[in-house]
């Protein structure tokens, strides 16, 4: 890597990957294993044990239905970690330090996105492997399975752009992650994540059916289980593109102002 320069694509990615390594190493191994391996496994088997029989009675194969929901849950968790890291980097002066260095500014963003992608991929691998033990299968071939992974990571990065904007505005990582937990939990639970939309009380069903988390879940389930995929995937991608446009604009603004 050439030193002393800020511009250039080579620097953007070279330095970005360097920062990604730093971001990943920030979380201790024990912590990463507990949050990215142990907990997803507990959640897959826990929800199966709890609600498997109830939903089988409604004709839903829960082992096939559930893993995409746990994937989406962990994509949220990756995004909340991103916000936490940005807020603590801002509090302890690391962001200001980056500015004083002769490195590409975009590298800070690339570093965050690469670290998020790695964590997202790890979570997806763990959840899918656990799902396979429980009876989950990719039934629509390799391209659809890769589409599943790509859409999941895309979802993580989109949400991460939004949460990062919040993290960059704040200097209090604990408060940011507490706030985001309060926001994400209803968004996830009041979607088709754990039960199908028609199991909700009638008054809230329209919201459940038309909110973006449900759109992403429908697409993931279509990619995993086969059946018509084009419609759900297009809807999900349209949602993500729209959200990404808004979130990244906010994140860029916040990043420019953050000192």
């Amino acid at each position: 890597m050439t030193t002393g320069t800020e511009a250039g694509l080579g620097n953007l990615f070279g330095q970005g990957l360097l920062l990604a390594g730093r971001n990943i190493r920030l979380n201790s191994t024990a912590d990463t294993i507990s949050t990215m391996v142990v907990f997803p496994v507990i959640f897959v088997f826990g929800f199966l044990a709890l609600f498997g029989n109830l939903l089988e009675a409604r004709g839903i194969v829960y082992a096939q239905f559930l893993p995409p929901a746990i994937v989406v849950q962990w994509m949220f968790s990756v995004a909340i970690t991103a916000a936490f890291c940005f807020a603590s980097d801002r509090r302890n002066g690391m962001l200001a330090r980056y500015r004083s260095l002769a490195i590409s500014r975009g590298a800070v963003v690339v570093g965050r996105m690469a670290a998020d992608s790695v964590r997202a991929l790890l979570a997806i691998a763990v959840i899918i492997a656990t799902g396979y033990v429980a009876g989950f299968r990719f039934q629509a071939g390799l391209p659809a399975a890769l589409g599943f992974v790509a859409l999941s990571v895309g979802f993580a990065l989109t949400v991460s752009a939004g949460t990062s904007a919040l993290g960059l505005v704040s200097r209090d990582p604990e408060a940011v992650s507490a706030t985001l937990h309060v926001v994400y939990l209803p968004l996830l639970m009041i979607s088709s994540a754990f039960v199908p939309a028609d199991a909700f009380p009638g008054w809230i069903e329209p919201f459940v059916r038309h909110q973006p988390v449900t759109a992403v879940l429908d697409a993931l389930r279509a990619l995993a289980g086969g059946g018509p995929t084009a419609g759900p995937v297009l809807t999900a991608v349209a949602w993500l593109a729209g959200l990404l446009a808004v979130f990244s604009a906010a994140a860029v603004q916040a990043f420019r102002r953050a000192t």
Binding site: V38, A49, A178, F194
Partner: protein, 250 residues
């Protein structure tokens, strides 16, 4: 000063520190309440249909009360760990007070907190249809069982706090068993809904037993056996964890 006065003073300190932190209060009170309403919304119809018209809130509110008591113990562990590392415990030790008051103050303060949080949770659950139908004595019994249940997890939390090497390790080591117990309990769905081989685990889970006791004491149902079994768990925890905590503390 007697040990009891010292314990009271130190318990007061812990309670005030809790009450003055909006984040701790929000975490202890808001999170269980959000979970209560979300579970009701998402699973109310399904579980209601499976239990033939049984009201989900009657079962759900007690389990959320117990969950917040167990989950609150994570805060106890982290708080005690911070006290140990920040030097305040060493400062207390250098003072002319009984050494055990510090430990007792932590437990008593957080027991009071657990009961207060339970009172707030049941009050809010009242809005969702939760009712005490057994009279004042049953209400007292309800909160006594909550305290008994919290007792188990508070001692677990202080033992973990003294054995752990980092704050993350404390919350990790406590969050995992609490989450497992919550999933594998009869709180969210009746025990018959679990796979057969898991049912014995679900039945023996202290969260299921204390949950049954709370359901009996609020909405009606068997009380004596679940209370006795919860008591057995508390006795077992006392016999194992209290001497361990005292030894680690010394």
């Amino acid at each position: 000063m007697s040990t009891i006065t010292e314990t009271g003073l130190l318990a007061g300190r812990n309670l005030r520190r809790f009450a003055k932190s909006p984040q701790l209060v929000a975490d202890a009170v808001m999170f269980p309440l959000i979970l209560l309403f979300l579970m009701l919304l998402v699973f109310g119809e399904l579980v209601g249909a499976a239990t033939h018209g049984g009201r989900y809130i009657d079962r759900l509110a007690p389990v959320i009360v117990l969950f917040s008591a167990a989950y609150g113990a994570v805060g106890t562990g982290v708080g005690f760990f911070t006290d140990l590392r920040s030097g305040i415990v060493d400062r207390f030790r250098s003072m002319n007070i009984s050494r055990l008051s510090v430990l007792a103050g932590r437990i008593v303060g957080d027991l009071v907190r657990a009961v207060l949080v339970a009172a707030v949770t049941t009050a809010v659950a009242h809005l969702a249809g939760f009712r005490f139908t057994g009279g004042p004595l049953a209400v007292l019994g309800f909160f006594a069982v909550v305290a008994l249940f919290a007792w188990i997890f508070l001692w677990l939390a202080v033992v973990v706090a003294m054995a752990a090497s980092s704050e993350q390790a404390v919350s990790g080591a406590l969050n995992t068993p609490v989450t497992l117990l919550l999933f594998l309990s009869s709180g969210f769905v009746p025990v018959e809904q679990f796979p057969g081989w898991l049912q014995p685990v679900v039945r023996a889970n202290p969260l299921s037993l204390a949950g049954d006791a709370l359901v009996g004491l609020s909405g009606g149902g068997p009380v004596l056996l679940p209370v006795l079994f919860t008591g057995a768990w508390a006795v077992a925890a006392t016999v194992i964890l209290v001497p361990l905590a005292v030894r680690l503390y010394k």
